[in-house]
Amino acid sequence: MKKNDINLAKQYNNFNESFSASVASDNNISRQAFYQSLQFNLKEKTLLDLACGDGQDLKEYQKRGAKCFGIDSSEKLIETAINSNPEVECVVGDMRKLPYKNESFDIVVSKYAIGTVENIDEVFVEVSRVLKSGGVFAFLTTHPMRLFMEQKESSRDYFMQKNVSLNVFGGKFTIVEPSHTFNEFFSQKYLEHFNVTLFSEHYDPQSANFPGREIYPDFFILVANKK
């Protein structure tokens, strides 16, 4: 598990600058879908962005009045986040060991990050710990069907965890993520801690610029309240 995490942080370090540029220009479909799922007042709310990357989303949340915090495992991306937005508090850290006290936040958000760990329950437990009662936990992550469909093996197994290479931003980058099932996202641990309020599946035409690709969901969004 550790080995995988280190690789994940490194892979983002290696393409930091070009990655930021691509995120800014190409990532609009997932970004807009995610923002639309956050149809509530952020004013004066304490908000944590899990895996905030270079902090582009934090700018939006800040504009909407939230008091923003960010955490990411990539030092380079955090450096960019801090330089471009000195008012938010960003730190380097691990989603499974959050450096915050119990019940610190009204809102925890995360885009394309929850699925990068092998055991997602570890993140769910930590998010629940740092959220206030009734607080919102909204995340967007790679859809389990995409993680299944893009396995390169001649016989794929939905229920077995494998590292999958995904082409993102029209094939400009390849990222590696462990595969997950919906069983893992709607785990007993998750449902113990959260009341789901919204679920949606999305297709991103930009990821489908590959000949013959069938149309299946690329990402999903799950919004819940802490019990």
Binding site: M145, S154, Y158, N183, V196, E201, E214, I215, P217, F220
Partner: protein, 224 residues
């Protein structure tokens, strides 16, 4: 579509009764385990899409004397009646029961036969008592994606697919669905999600290609 679906089950009511009990034994074990942990004891139970009543007999034996069934196929209901079961002809989006009648609504391999679930969810919530349980098992949307069988499959396109069941003994036509149709805003308006289980059972479902993918989905919920 409603009419076609009830007709197709009328057409093979006899074969279906013989094969589905045996063919579903692995899936049944998982589903009944899930029901056992849902606190159904002595509650008034509705079996939504009860068919020939095989499962109702089990629910009566295992959980409660008070079990009713509803189904759209007259022929299957005749079989259920021959087992002395209390069943009614009806569609999911207009259930022939008054408000807050049941403590539990159970549905196995039936919900996916309708085009959309919002009216069904509203009806199930209506006939359920407060905090009542709703537990359903449906064909997994990923399996329906593979059953589309065309070269350019689209997960989001609603198609009628042939579902090959029980080693090819039965073929049914069903509309495809997405996971977000099951977990729709309407669902979350009426229910809180208690558990979500996906599994594969390639004895009851045709295996398409060399892959292992989920064939069914069990959702447990409580009325808000």
């Amino acid at each position: 579509m409603k009419t076609n679906l009830s007709k197709q089950y009328n057409g093979f009511a006899n074969t279906f009764s013989e094969t589905h009990d045996n063919g579903n034994k692995f899936t049944n074990r998982i589903f009944f385990d899930q029901l056992r942990s849902s606190g159904l004891q002595d509650k008034k139970i509705l079996d939504l899409g009860c068919g020939d009543g095989t499962d109702m007999q089990y629910y009566k034996y295992r959980f409660s004397n008070n079990v009713l069934g509803v189904d759209a196929s007259e022929k299957l209901l005749e079989e259920a009646r021959s087992k002395s079961l209390d069943v009614r002809l009806g569609y999911f989006d207009s259930l022939p029961f008054s408000d807050q009648t049941f403590g539990v609504v159970i549905s196995k391999y039936a919900l996916q036969t309708v085009d959309e679930f919002n009216n069904t969810y509203q009806e199930v919530a209506r006939v359920l008592k407060k905090s009542g349980s709703f537990v359903f098992l449906v064909v997994h949307p990923f399996r329906q994606f593979f059953e589309k069988k065309s070269n350019q499959k689209n997960y989001f396109d609603k198609k009628i697919v042939n579902s090959v069941l029980f080693d090819g003994k039965v073929v049914v036509e069903e509309p495809t669905h997405t996971v977000q149709e099951y977990l729709s805003p309407e669902f979350f308006k009426y229910f809180s999600l208690e558990s979500f289980i996906e599994k594969s059972d390639f004895y009851s479902a045709e295996k398409i290609g060399p892959d292992e993918y989920p064939t069914y989905l069990i959702v447990s919920a409580k009325k808000l």
